[in-house]
Subunit: 87 residues, 2 copies
């Protein structure tokens, strides 16, 4: 499955959230990660993130589609990575 | 088409970017909008945003799929809006 993850967490929790996301996904914009994961990897990522955030303050949102071919990506302005090093 | 839009713009340009995004999409997280648009609406949105950002500093990223049924959404922590008022 292809996962897009956007995090909005307090500054003091960002390092742990970023480290966790980087284990599983590629960083594509300041607050955005994306990548292909198995269902098991996705569950492991979400479980790790659940333990890293304050659910009353932070927010992590994911959008999941079956395969990356179903998604078109567009960037205006600064692009942190081309499609080559993302997918 | 179903559009997910993430903006990362300088504070002084945020009001114009937000106003433009709100015309077309629903706000779902601090820096995330989503919604269903026609191809013409999508082009109009991107053209308006192109004129509102500094392409050397700001970044706007979109992910597009053919229909919202192809996407599953998940939130950890704070959720700004349920599926009911998003799609």
């Amino acid at each position: 499955m292809f996962v897009i993850l956007i995090y909005d967490t307090a500054v003091e929790r960002n390092p742990r959230v970023l480290k966790t996301c980087r284990k599983y996904l590629h960083w594509t914009q300041r607050s955005v990660f994306q990548g292909e994961l198995s269902a098991a990897q996705y569950r492991a990522l979400m479980a790790a993130l659940s333990g890293a955030i304050d659910p009353g303050y932070d927010s992590i949102r994911t959008y999941t589609v079956r395969s990356p071919e179903m998604v078109e990506t567009d960037t205006l302005g600064v692009d942190l990575g081309g499609p080559g090093d993302i997918i």
